[in-house]
């Protein structure tokens, strides 16, 4: 799966916004809210931060819409803005020495622990993801969750394909090791 394959209606909406129809932007926000929100939530591990970053990304995209050279690929362009905002927010969180905290809202909406231990698994996955270095987490999410091609990831992140492959590989190994650790506890 690539990125930005969202059809011509994106381009039509972008052109309407560029022509002064601000209301058309609401359709773009609604269209991309949940998908981009998923990336931000997994990347930052916190719903409040994810929504703040997502809102910021949408506003920045609006401000820069005149520089969106290819409205057909608005989705990919917007994704790039979000990835950058998540990096900035992640660095800020690191400077604050903030620890990974559970997201109460997500826990409330998470499935109840069933016979298969769904809630525990959810906690374990988020715990492991939060312990990955941010570059590895970013590469892992883009590759295995957003299912982007390495070339698309390179365009979004500015990193080389080789570097991205290495980060994904490291992330996979670290996640595997952390799962083993969690299973021992």
């Amino acid at each position: 799966m690539g990125i930005g394959n969202v059809g011509t209606s994106d381009a039509a909406l972008v052109r309407r916004v560029q022509a002064g129809d601000t209301g058309a932007y609401a359709d773009l926000v609604a269209r991309y809210r949940d998908r981009l929100g998923r990336y931000a939530l997994h990347m930052l591990g916190n719903r409040e931060d994810a929504e703040e970053v997502l809102q910021d990304a949408f506003v920045r995209a609006y401000r820069s819409l005149a520089r969106c050279d290819d409205p057909e690929r608005f989705g990919a362009w917007l994704y790039g803005i979000l990835v950058n905002r998540c990096r900035t927010a992640g660095a800020r969180a690191t400077r604050r020495a903030r620890r990974f905290v559970h997201d109460p809202a997500a826990l409330e909406t998470a499935p109840l622990a069933g016979p298969d231990g769904q809630a525990e698994w959810d906690d374990t996955v988020r715990w492991a993801l939060a312990r990955l270095p941010s570059e590895s987490r970013e590469a892992f999410l883009l590759k295995h969750v957003e299912e982007l091609e390495y070339e698309d990831m390179a365009r979004l992140t500015g990193a080389g394909v080789s570097a991205l492959k290495m980060r994904v590989k490291r992330a996979r190994e670290q996640l595997q090791a952390m799962l083993k650790e969690a299973e021992r506890v």
């Binding site: 916004v17 560029q18 022509a19 002064g20 601000t22 932007y25 609401a26 926000v29 609604a30 809210r33 949940d34 929100g37 998923r38 939530l41 997994h42 994810a50 929504e51 997502l54 809102q55 949408f58 506003v59 609006y62 401000r63 820069s64 819409l65 005149a66 520089r67 969106c68 050279d69 290819d70 909406t109 698994w121 959810d122 996955v125 492991a128 993801l129 270095p133 570059e135 590895s136 999410l141 295995h144 969750v145 299912e147 990193a159 080389g160 080789s162 570097a163 492959k165 290495m166 980060r167 994904v168 590989k169 490291r170 996979r172 190994e173 996640l175 595997q176 799962l179």
Partner: protein
């Protein structure tokens, strides 16, 4: 073949791929914030030109026009080839390269790099001789490859006999091998 790493990673990825619902009130917050901003306006002339160049186009040529266009293209290509640097070396057949690491205390070593997608399961190195030489032979076509040795499942080593890749690109030590196109 069953691979426990792939299985665990796939379980995690499947879990994370589940749809996430973001509070729809976010839409309202975004729209309120942008209502105070000036309209973004249209793309710049440069952006429009760039977009036009990237779009596929269809042209209709008369036979005479086609001949003229073909002649102009031929002249253009000839001029370009005369003015440009010598052409790149021809793509050659793959050649076998032997990678060697001395690691007396290692229990297992894998060769990882661009040529095997950094997959540690694909190119295990063989221990030979008393000096604990670890070797692997890989067929490579001309190109530039980054690679590293993965020792005992935890330690990354760059090749001490090869140029080192810039650290900031990888976060781990790695080396660069350039395979030429000549014989």
């Amino acid at each position: 073949m069953f691979n426990p790493v792939d299985d665990a990673v796939e379980r995690i990825a499947r879990h994370l791929r589940r749809p996430v619902q973001i509070d729809p009130a976010l839409d309202g917050r975004v729209m309120r914030e942008i209502s105070a901003l000036p309209a973004p306006g249209r793309a710049t002339l440069g952006g429009e030109v760039w977009r036009w160049l990237r779009r596929p186009h269809q042209f209709t040529l008369t036979p005479l026009g086609g001949l003229v266009a073909a002649a102009a293209l031929t002249v253009g290509v000839l001029l370009y080839r005369m003015a440009s640097t010598p052409p790149a070396p021809p793509q050659g057949e793959s050649r076998a390269f032997q990678f060697v690491l001395v690691a007396p205390r290692a229990t297992h070593v894998e060769l990882v790099g661009d040529f095997n997608d950094w997959d540690a399961t694909r190119t295990p190195m063989r221990r030979t001789g008393r000096e604990a030489l670890w070797t692997a032979v890989v067929p490579l076509v001309p190109g530039r490859y980054h690679y590293a040795f993965f020792v005992d499942g935890s330690r990354w080593l760059a090749d001490p006999s090869a140029p080192v890749a810039r650290d900031e690109d990888y976060g781990q030590p790695s080396s660069v091998l350039t395979v030429g196109g000549g014989s």
